[in-house]
């Protein structure tokens, strides 16, 4: 893991999961898997978070909350969908109150498969998310420069 140059903080929200994936997300933070040794911390505050871990699909009630949390997070941000519920609705896809995967509400960058997703897979997803985060950051750095150039051109 020597290539982890940034320690992301994560925020976790349970869309409408069965708990299976939630406790696996928590298990990642506890001594057996212990992602805290890389400085990855689970925060409750969306404004502190870089990575948004969502478990479970969305329904009429949770759609607002997921959106709110996502909107509050500062750029750049990455969304990781944990478990098949979050990816597509999974086994509950046909339920009347399940709208589908998280990607119906917010753009998802990494999908972690599994029902329940194993802690190893979740950690892998977060590490993949780090790559995306770096890309987004680089794009952000470039953007203002490009915009300034375009403006300068227009002026001329």
């Amino acid at each position: 893991m020597s290539y982890v140059t940034k320690s992301p903080w994560i925020i976790h929200y349970d869309g409408s999961s069965c708990n299976g994936c939630d406790i696996e997300v928590l298990a990642c933070l506890t001594p057996m898997y212990d992602v805290e040794r890389f400085g990855i911390i689970n925060t409750g505050n969306p404004k502190h978070a870089d990575i948004f871990l969502v478990t479970g699909s969305v329904n009429e009630q949770s759609i607002k909350v997921v959106k709110q949390i996502y909107d509050q997070m500062p750029e750049p941000k990455v969304v990781v969908a944990v478990g098949i519920c979050a990816s597509s609705g999974g086994i509950f896809k046909e339920c009347y109150n399940v709208l589908g995967g998280i990607d119906m509400v917010v753009p998802v960058d990494v999908y972690v498969p599994g029902c329940a997703a194993r802690p190893e897979a979740i950690i892998d997803g977060v590490v993949k998310g780090l790559g995306v985060l770096a890309e987004k950051r680089a794009a952000m750095d470039k953007k203002p420069a490009a915009a300034a150039k375009a403006e300068a051109k227009e002026g001329a």
Binding site: C18, D22, I23, E24, A27, P31, Y96
Partner: protein
């Protein structure tokens, strides 16, 4: 008398692993009233009976909750077996009981950790969850899954466990017990932990009965209520007696669950000693006949009902689960009245809420 204010709690909150919302009416830091509102995780999975055959539905029912998933699978299978008059082989009942008690151990240790986190003892939380991984390893070894197992099926179980593995299981649990003692001693004897638990959130025996509390919540208030006493599975052969405390406060609820962990270890050892040889499942064919069947099961969180109604087809007509958390919410609202605002997260946790069970 101060001014009344309403403080919203949740749905996304650091101490809550699951979304639930409480409106707390407070007056000078004291909670006057708590108004819960739920519905964030409702999926409507009972309706899936119309789309999945009764043999397949067990996968859905297991996913009502990832913590007591085995119990849900068992309860559902039991209801359907009752409906179809299927006699399950004894070895399967033993294996089911062993797995169910393992789930109880894992669920209670998980809860102890969350409680420790709730009152701000982070390292205790970490240690509880570290120990819990041993139980998950046992699950993985015997069933193949860590939290969702799918080993229970209508007519029996899907996997057999050989003698060596069962003995090894008992060995691991006994070893774990020694470490667990240190942790539970902290919960029971530590001065600062006690100051957070003793005398907080008292639920009297009358209230517990009146408000229909179930499981450890009721047992901590002195109500002698445990479905394992009615002898489902093989509990009558294991010398089971419920753990009862009388104080009704957070400390008593903690004590009940801790005693149940040790009791479950003893029961697993006893079951491993006496497990008979034989088949692990009987073949199940044909439609689920017309009729209905109700069964009950003691989940880690309390009494749980399973109701199945057949319609002489491959699909059930109705499947209903009444989960323990639903029954404990009125009791929780009661103990929240008059408590300090700072105690709310902890009191909320002492009912061992499982919102995904409650809303399904």
């Amino acid at each position: 008398m101060g001014k009344r204010t309403i403080v919203p709690f949740g749905p996304q909150h650091p101490v809550l692993p699951e979304p639930v919302h409480l409106d707390l009416v407070i007056e000078d830091e004291k909670v006057v009233e708590a108004i819960p509102s739920i519905g964030f995780i409702h999926r409507g999975l009972e309706k899936l009976v119309e789309k999945k055959e009764y043999t397949e539905l067990v996968y859905v029912i297991e996913r009502i909750c990832g913590i007591c998933s085995f119990g849900h699978g068992w309860g559902y299978c039991h209801a359907v077996e009752g409906l179809m008059n299927i006699e399950v082989p004894e070895r399967a009942e033993y294996l089911r009981t062993i797995w169910h008690e393992l789930s109880r151990i894992h669920s209670h240790i998980l809860w102890l950790g969350l409680l420790a986190d709730g009152f701000g003892f982070e390292s205790l939380f970490m240690h509880c969850w570290r120990l819990r991984e041993r139980v998950l390893d046992l699950f993985e070894k015997t069933t193949g899954g860590r939290v969702i197992f799918s080993v229970c099926k209508v007519g029996g179980v899907r996997k057999d466990v050989d003698k060596e593995t069962l003995d090894e299981m008992v060995g691991v649990l006994r070893k774990m017990e020694i470490e667990l003692k240190e942790l539970t001693n902290t919960f029971m004897d530590d001065y600062s932990v006690k100051s957070r638990l003793v005398g907080i959130g008292v639920l009297s025996k009358e209230d517990a009965i009146e408000l229909c509390a179930v499981g450890p919540m009721a047992r901590a208030s002195g109500v002698d209520l445990d479905i394992r006493l009615t002898g489902n599975g093989i509990y009558d052969k294991l010398g089971f007696a419920p753990c009862i405390e009388t104080a009704g406060d957070c400390y008593a609820r903690c004590a009940v669950r801790i005693r149940e962990i040790y009791q479950s270890i003893d029961m697993i050892e006893e079951a491993v000693k006496t497990i008979p040889e034989g088949d692990i499942a009987v073949p199940v064919k044909g439609n689920a006949p017309k009729g209905e069947f109700i069964t009950r099961l003691e989940q880690p969180r309390g009494e749980c009902f399973y109701y199945a109604k057949g319609a002489d087809s491959k699909f059930l007509e109705r499947m209903r689960v009444r989960t323990p958390t639903n029954m404990n919410i009125p009791a929780m609202v009661k103990i929240l009245q008059g408590c300090d605002l700072a105690d709310v997260p902890m009191l909320f946790l002492t009912i061992d809420p499982c919102i995904s069970c409650a809303e399904r």
